[in-house]
């Protein structure tokens, strides 16, 4: 079973160092495909777009998601829990097409802005779930103790709750960043013609022109996501399951 999970990925990494253009036979070690990759202006643009979208979307989603997580923890609400949980349970394609229709009806030109707005929307749920999990494991008596000792509501939040939440906030932000940089389906429908992100670029390469450059970009992306995930895992013991 582990062979089934890993063999394809190992082959991609190995081929990214292979001299052969067609990729079938091993003809020797090379870093040529990485040079090609970094000289590819379109690819660098896509990477830059992914980075900008990922940063803006994860920071905004973290702000909204943290508020939502706190609200879910503190109050008994009706609408917000539904709005947080349903997005996790509906098919991605519904998100994609409904946002496409929405943006077009609003006369918003599809591009970076529409992609960022969409990414913030689907990342909020993930952040909120992480924050809420962190808060539910927190000892409420610490806040009460602070209040008894004369701290104001803001003071106890600022010096007790917030520091305890911090690892959850960072984990949520990293999770949102990973989700954003990884997303294909929703981006595919909301990006319009001009804007490319790394997953969109990889999709085009798979569909149109398969060159060994794709092995190199895949390997780099794998390393990047794994580093991010290790960071999340260190900060938060419960990683909620994500999207495919």
């Amino acid at each position: 079973m582990y062979l089934f999970l890993y063999l394809p990925l190992v082959v991609v990494v190995a081929y990214s160092f292979n001299q052969s253009r067609l990729g079938a036979e091993w003809t020797g070690f090379t870093l040529h495909w990485y040079q090609v990759l970094f000289a590819d202006a379109e690819m660098m643009r896509a990477a830059w777009n992914s980075l900008v979208i990922g940063l803006v979307a994860s920071v905004s989603a973290t702000v909204f998601g943290t508020l939502a997580g706190l609200a879910l923890h503190k109050f008994r609400l009706r609408l917000l829990p539904v709005l947080i949980v349903t997005p996790l349970a509906i098919p991605d394609i519904l998100w994609g097409v409904s946002l496409l229709v929405f943006f077009v009806l609003l006369n918003l030109t599809l591009g970076m802005l529409s992609v960022i707005l969409a990414h913030v929307a689907f990342c909020i749920s993930y952040v909120a779930v992480v924050i809420r999990a962190r808060l539910s494991g927190m000892d409420e008596s610490l806040v009460e103790a602070a209040r008894d000792l004369g701290a104001t509501a803001w003071g106890s939040f600022r010096f007790v709750t917030l520091p305890l939440m911090a690892p959850g906030i960072i984990a949520g932000a990293l999770l949102a960043f990973t989700m954003s940089i990884d997303d294909f389906v929703i981006t595919f429908f909301t990006a319009g013609v001009g804007t490319t992100t790394l997953p969109l670029k990889i999709y085009t390469m798979i569909k149109v022109t398969v060159t060994p450059e794709i092995n190199a970009v895949s390997t780099l992306l794998m390393v990047l996501t794994m580093l991010l995930v290790l960071a999340i895992a260190r900060l938060s013991p419960q990683i909620p399951s994500g999207k495919p």
């Binding site: 079973m1 394809p8 990729g23 508020l67 098919p91 229709v101 009806l105 389906v185 790394l198 399951s241």
Partner: protein, 291 residues
């Protein structure tokens, strides 16, 4: 204070999740626009403003053999993917849950790691493995040639779509199964053994019924995205592996018949909810009956 916490995220999700979803529901009852897209939801004439809606989009789905076959095929793919994932994931989750603590986390982490690799990269990786130059296809075709059959292509086939979806969604099944199996009380199995139950009986009468909530959670997590999949069949399926997601994409990006595409999306979502709801209800009944 309460408003300050609740309203920003709530307003954002209403604007960018609830409203678009409701527009999609509305547009599934609309007429297509003259040049693609939507025509107006209402018309204004001498009698004032009234809605101009239709059930045609839904009627077209239910009266066309093509689309019913497509839905049936997507259900089939999603069902087969779920069943294959279950068969593959159950033994794996059981082994992980029953292994010693120090290996357990490592084994679990090793299931999660590939899952954090972009799924397009994983599909591409499978394309190499299933490709005509790879060992698998060569061996298979050599065998087929030997028994006198024509060689086949593993790639761009329904088989490739199925393998691709199992590969992509397997961790979704392993994780909830593991989370459930890990909580089982080993004393129950010991007690059953002492009372003379064989290993087969212990599994079917204790472990499996207790794990049904995990089975259901995993199945829902695999079934819902598998039913709506469009990238996997788009890349691995060729022309014979088309699923409902591919048709939805075509309606929006190529045919530009948005109302029909909306109706298909709504049907897809309803189907996913109905099937998983039904399965959850069945599982609860079975657990309740004490099987």
């Amino acid at each position: 204070m309460r408003r300050l916490l609740v309203w920003p995220p709530q307003a954002y999700l209403i604007a960018f999740f609830l409203v678009p979803t409701l527009i999609m529901v509305a547009s599934s009852f609309a007429w297509p626009g003259e040049e693609g897209g939507l025509s107006s939801f209402w018309v204004r004439d001498a009698q004032g403003i009234h809605f101009d809606l239709t059930f045609d989009n839904y009627r077209d789905i239910f009266t066309s053999r093509l689309f019913l076959v497509l839905f049936a095929r997507s259900l089939g793919y999603a069902g087969l993917t779920t069943a294959s994932c279950l068969l593959a994931a159950y033994p794996l989750a059981l082994v992980i849950a029953r292994s010693a603590g120090k290996y357990r986390n490592l084994l679990l982490l090793m299931v999660i790691v590939p899952f954090w690799t972009n799924f397009l990269i994983r599909i591409y990786a499978l394309m190499i493995i299933l490709g005509p130059q790879a060992a698998l296809a060569r061996i298979l075709n050599a065998l087929l040639d030997w028994v006198g059959l024509t060689p086949v292509s593993l790639l761009f086939s329904p088989f490739a779509v199925l393998v691709g979806m199992v590969y992509i969604y397997l961790p979704f099944m392993v994780l909830p199964l593991y989370a459930n199996l890990e909580k089982h009380d080993p004393d129950l199995l010991d007690a059953a053994r002492d009372l003379g139950a064989g290993s087969w009986q212990r599994f079917w009468r204790i472990t499996f019924p207790l794990s049904l909530p995990g089975v259901m959670a995993g199945s829902a997590l695999v079934f819902i995205p598998a039913l709506g999949a469009f990238a996997v069949p788009d890349i691995l399926g060729g022309t014979r592996g088309i699923m409902i997601g591919n048709v939805i994409k075509m309606q929006f990006l190529e045919a530009r018949d948005w109302p029909f595409g909306s109706a298909l999306s709504i049907m897809l979502t309803l189907l996913a909810l109905v099937v998983t709801g039904l399965a959850a209800w069945l599982a609860r009944r079975k657990v309740g009956a004490g099987v």
